[in-house]
Amino acid sequence: MRNDYIPYPARIVSARDETYDTKTFRLKFTEPSVAEDFNFKQGQFLEVSLLGRGEAPISICSSPLEREYFELNIRSVGSLTGAICRLKEGDILYVRGPYGNSFPFKEVKGRDLVFIAGGIGLAPLRGLIQMVLKNKKDFGNVSILYGAKSPEDLCFRDELEQWSEVEGTSVYQTVDRASDGWNGRVGLVTELYEAAGIEEGAGEMSNTTAFLCGPPVMIRFAARKLKACGFKPGNIYVTLERYMKCGIGKCGHCNIGGVFVCVDGPVFSWEHVEGFTEDF
């Protein structure tokens, strides 16, 4: 019988500093058969181990269309992620997955898309953005609204630049606190709505789908405002984070209400979760 708890070694092909505390790792399973069998969908996550220290759920931040490797964006926030962030090219991580459901892709073809991300919340959306932009002709306008605590906390800066150059794609950035040399906007990510044409009283946004990822407070705030701006809750997708230990709906940690974030999510339509009494 298959044992879902056994991780497989994956070698770090490259490790790039994204910010002062965040790194993007490019990985490949060392066993060819494992690498061969590894397929994932946009929005799914992996359980990543540093054996001896532990395991954490990390969303895949690369595009499923890329078969040669997968990427993880990891922020050093605790002893495990801290130790992972000290790893270098050639080091081994232990990985199992993918887990969870995925973002709609085919289903949103032909529609305008808005991506709203806070901090490293851009990572889970990145794979989807890459897929969409690679097939841009199948989609309408794409807006990427990205906010971070400070300019130093913005991830994927080069890519944001590249994305903004794709036709019919706009990138808006903002920070909570400016630092020297920052000429961009200062404020919450929701303050970017207007620039992206999302306004209260502008009528129903029936041809636009929004994707959200970021800190829990941001998600609630941003989704509520989208609703006020004419988005149907069914056209808003959020990806939720939760402490989790197994990834297969057994350990119980990610249970909110009657759902498991790890198997019923991490992607939820706002329609599904807006009524949850519990904090995300």
Binding site: G52, C246, K250, G258, D279
Partner: protein, 387 residues
């Protein structure tokens, strides 16, 4: 079919069964507790006499609750998921136990003498672990197992258990999902065989099980059931509680009352975890790595780097249970954790499983150092409901 099993045959039966099964049965120790023990560990000390004298079976004359819920057999408090040791190139050799740590060896387990409430709980944990993404470890330990129920005529914990209200006992009913139940009668047991698997089990054991008259036994069982239900003194409005919990708790009168109850519980609670550890349907676990090379004070730098990944019972009353790596905790406030516990059992699981995962065993009350427990919660929630 119905059979009759004489008490004096019990020990012999268990020893006979232990040839093919890893037999686990309730034994009373000299400290007054009843625990589910492997026959091998008991029999070594004195064979049949020892077994007969310590066996705690019989819903009327020896009605006893297992100290730990039987989930521990398939889902131990702590178990190794796999072991790892460094190979030298940064990679580790990973070895999964394949049930090697399971003392039952290769024999399937026979749980002989499980109370109906605990049996219902096993059905639920079985569904939870085996359906959708089968849990390797639970499945390995539970593979081929069978449960024989010892129904209650007298409640084992009269001040805490409320199976008749929770709908899980005191006897099984034909039509329920079970193989065999024992119901104490006279100097032995009525053996109610309710499935073909049960019939297969008793066939070939004619030395122990004597066929009983179908009609007469059915009539007698009905009598006993009535008596047994009457013997359960604790009655709570379980259905009423489920109805109340079903409403959106943010609205109406319960919308104010429930949070107040949760707060009261959170204040009183000393966060020992007993209600979760002892709950026969609580399945949460934590996973951690036990290794020899990650401590601040590392003693021996040479030597093999090795360790194991372990899972251990966990529970939603602990703040760390839901705290995320970022430090954010959706259930930072203790009352949110109390709410979680009761809503899970009484509000969400009925939707997911079609019935509440509280089986009314009462262990959360007997094990609680400050006397909280599901029973009291239900009583408080349904205050004012018509009898």
């Amino acid at each position: 079919m119905y059979y009759y099993l004489r008490r004096e045959k019990l020990a012999g039966l268990l020893l006979h069964l232990s040839k093919e099964w890893s037999v686990l049965a309730p034994f009373r120790n000299s400290y007054g507790d009843v625990t589910l023990e492997n026959l091998d560990s008991v029999a070594e000390n004195g064979r049949a006499e020892e077994i007969a004298s310590r066996l705690a079976l019989g819903g009327r004359t020896d009605s006893a609750q297992l100290l730990s819920p039987p989930k521990e057999v398939f889902f131990p408090q702590s178990e190794i998921l796999f072991q790892f040791s460094e190979k030298g190139n940064g990679e580790f050799a990973i070895e999964q136990p394949e049930g090697k740590d399971d003392p039952s060896g290769n024999k399937p387990k026979l749980l002989f003498g499980i109370k109906p409430c605990d049996y219902h709980a096993l059905l639920m944990t079985g569904r939870f672990f085996l359906e959708d993404n089968t849990d390797f470890y639970y499945s390995t330990r539970a593979n081929g197992s069978m449960v024989i129920i010892d129904s209650c005529i007298v409640p084992p914990e009269p001040e805490a258990c409320f199976c008749s209200s929770a709908g899980t006992g005191p006897l099984m009913k034909r039509g329920d999902e079970y193989d065999i139940q024992l119901v104490e009668e006279g100097n032995g047991f009525i053996v109610d065989v309710a499935s073909s698997r049960g019939e297969d089990f008793v066939s070939g054991l004619e030395n122990f099980f004597k066929i009983a008259d179908e009609k007469e036994t059915a009539r007698r069982l009905e009598e006993i059931r009535k008596e047994a239900v009457g013997n359960v003194e604790l009655k709570v409005d379980f259905k009423g509680a489920l109805e109340i919990m079903k409403e959106s708790p943010e609205e109406g009168e319960t919308g104010e009352r429930l949070p107040a109850i949760y707060r009261e519980i959170a204040d009183r609670c000393i966060y020992c975890g007993a209600c979760l550890y002892l709950c026969p349907t609580c399945t949460c676990f934590n996973v951690y790595d036990n290794s020899n090379f990650c401590s601040v004070l590392t003693l021996l730098e040479e030597g093999e780097r090795a360790g194991e990944r372990v899972r251990v019972w966990d529970g939603c009353v602990f703040s760390g249970y839901s705290r995320e790596a970022s430090g954010h905790n959706p259930r930072d406030d203790a009352y949110k954790r109390a709410e979680r516990r009761y809503e899970h059992k009484l509000r969400y699981d009925p939707v997911v499983y079609g019935r509440s995962t509280c089986v009314g065993c009462g262990r959360c009350l007997t094990g609680c150092p400050v006397d909280i427990g599901m029973l009291k919660f239900i009583e408080e929630v349904t205050v004012g409901n018509e009898e």
